[in-house]
């Protein structure tokens, strides 16, 4: 019960910081995604195998506020969760490396989905501009924030789970 409570509080804090602060701090047109980083870092913890239920709820919550279509956030964040489980099987000994890899791949995956939705909706855009002005800065910002977010979530996990059971 405690892990779900802690992750819910962590998610709410990340959500508020994302909408109030992080989304406004842009590099070119890119902005970091604190929710993606939180979900990635928390999902990398091997004890959170049933985390997908919470992510489903969180993603639905984000979809309610976001201007993107409802299913997109759910698809993206559940995809990142599944990717983290896959990464856990072969780079689990180096959690920070897994976090970096998940951040990089997850951001790319998220942006490809976002752009695909825009393309389906016939929104005019240029792929090269989208990549250079939005995706690349976002990846850089996410990679920069990945370290502190991973450290914070790791400390949260240590306080939630008994010592010796951590990955």
């Amino acid at each position: 019960m405690l892990p779900y409570l802690v992750s819910s509080v962590g998610f709410i804090i990340a959500f508020m910081l994302q909408y109030g602060v992080v989304s406004r701090s842009t590099m070119l047109s890119g902005a970091a995604d604190l929710l993606l980083l939180f979900i990635a870092a928390w999902s990398l913890h091997e004890h959170n195998k049933r985390m997908w239920v919470l992510i489903l709820i969180f993603a639905a919550f984000i979809s309610f506020v976001s201007a993107t279509p409802f299913f997109v956030s759910i698809f993206v964040y559940l995809g990142i969760f599944l990717l983290s489980k896959y990464l856990n099987t072969w780079v689990w000994q180096t959690p920070l490396l897994a976090m970096f890899l998940l951040t990089f791949v997850g951001t790319l995956f998220q942006h490809i989905v976002y752009l695909a939705v825009l393309w389906v909706n016939q929104t005019p855009f240029d792929w090269a501009t989208a990549f250079s002005n939005v995706t690349l800065p976002t990846i850089l910002l996410n990679m920069l924030l990945a370290i502190p977010v991973h450290a914070l979530v790791h400390e949260m996990a240590r306080s939630v789970y008994p010592t010796g059971l951590e990955p």
Binding site: S23, S29, V65, S66, A67, L118, T123, T129, A130
Partner: protein, 278 residues
């Protein structure tokens, strides 16, 4: 006479005269060098003694003084911190009141519309879309499609409303289209947003001479926005020979990255012309 010649009397008389003489000499200043000479070693000794006494007193009292000074220092530092906080809070209030003052000035200049001031509390998570969230919703009378402005110009329109908040689609969003008129060129065109948040001028006829710095105002066409709101200024124009229209880049009047307060035009009814479109 015998009494006058009495040796005791004479001695007293001589002593009195000498004393009076010394007093007269002292008052007259004739004895000053002698006094100075005799007092110099005394003053030196007194100074030495006083310095040692002061040093001893300082040494004996210094722990108490230090403690008092530290307490006073801590109190003063605390007071300075409180005053700094007050200064920051007052500066914040001043900044907020200046924004509100500017907004109210705008409302006074455009009295035909009714406005509701709202604070921007969030920004869209998807970096490809340009939306902000405000702290007023349907409880405050806001509805879908209401135009949103600041004292500088057009911001966008309300895209979605819940009871206590609303989401605004900025004119810089990729799906946003604003019909504009060029103030000097006396022609109409269209301003489109983009996924990077930049806005561009589209559908400008080739025969129209558009100068850099030309002001763009909403035309009111399409019924989405009321007319005569500032949108931006032309930065550059591009004209291709084989193209039907000129295009250009636009500097928006409103800086969307620092948007903190907006005005919602509450008495403008958006006209839905979709059923009329072929």
């Amino acid at each position: 006479m015998q009494k006058l010649l009495n040796p005791k009397f004479l001695r007293n008389l001589i002593i009195s005269i000498m004393v009076i003489g010394l007093m007269v000499m002292a008052i007259s200043g004739y004895l000053t060098p002698i006094f100075s000479l005799s007092l110099t070693p005394l003053i030196g000794t007194q100074s030495w003694l006083a310095e040692r006494y002061s040093a001893f007193k300082d040494f004996s009292n210094s722990p108490r003084d230090m403690a008092e000074l530290r307490q006073q220092n801590a109190m003063l530092e605390n007071e300075v911190a409180q005053l700094q906080n007050q200064v920051v809070a007052l500066q914040e209030e001043l900044s907020q009141s200046r924004i509100l003052e500017a907004l109210f000035d705008f409302a006074r200049i455009n009295p035909q519309y009714e406005y509701l001031a709202a604070t921007v509390i969030g920004r869209e998570i998807n970096p490809f879309q340009q939306y902000v969230i405000i702290d007023k919703g349907s409880n405050h009378g806001l509805r879908h499609g209401m135009p949103v402005v600041t004292q500088k110009g057009l911001v966008g329109r309300i895209d979605r409303v819940i009871a206590t908040a609303a989401r605004i689609q900025l004119i810089s969003d990729a799906n946003s289209v604003v019909n504009v008129r060029l103030q000097n060129a006396k022609t109409e065109a269209q301003v489109d947003g983009s996924i990077t948040g930049e806005i561009s001028l589209q559908l400008v006829p080739q025969d129209v001479d558009v100068q850099v710095g030309e002001v763009l105002l909403t035309s009111g066409l399409g019924g989405t926005y009321p007319p005569n709101f500032f949108v931006g200024q032309v930065l550059t124009m591009e004209s291709r020979e084989n193209s039907m229209f000129q295009t250009g880049s636009v500097q928006p009047m409103v800086d969307f990255s620092t948007l903190s307060a907006v005005l919602v035009v509450t008495n403008f009814n958006q006209v839905d012309i979709k059923p009329l479109l072929p």
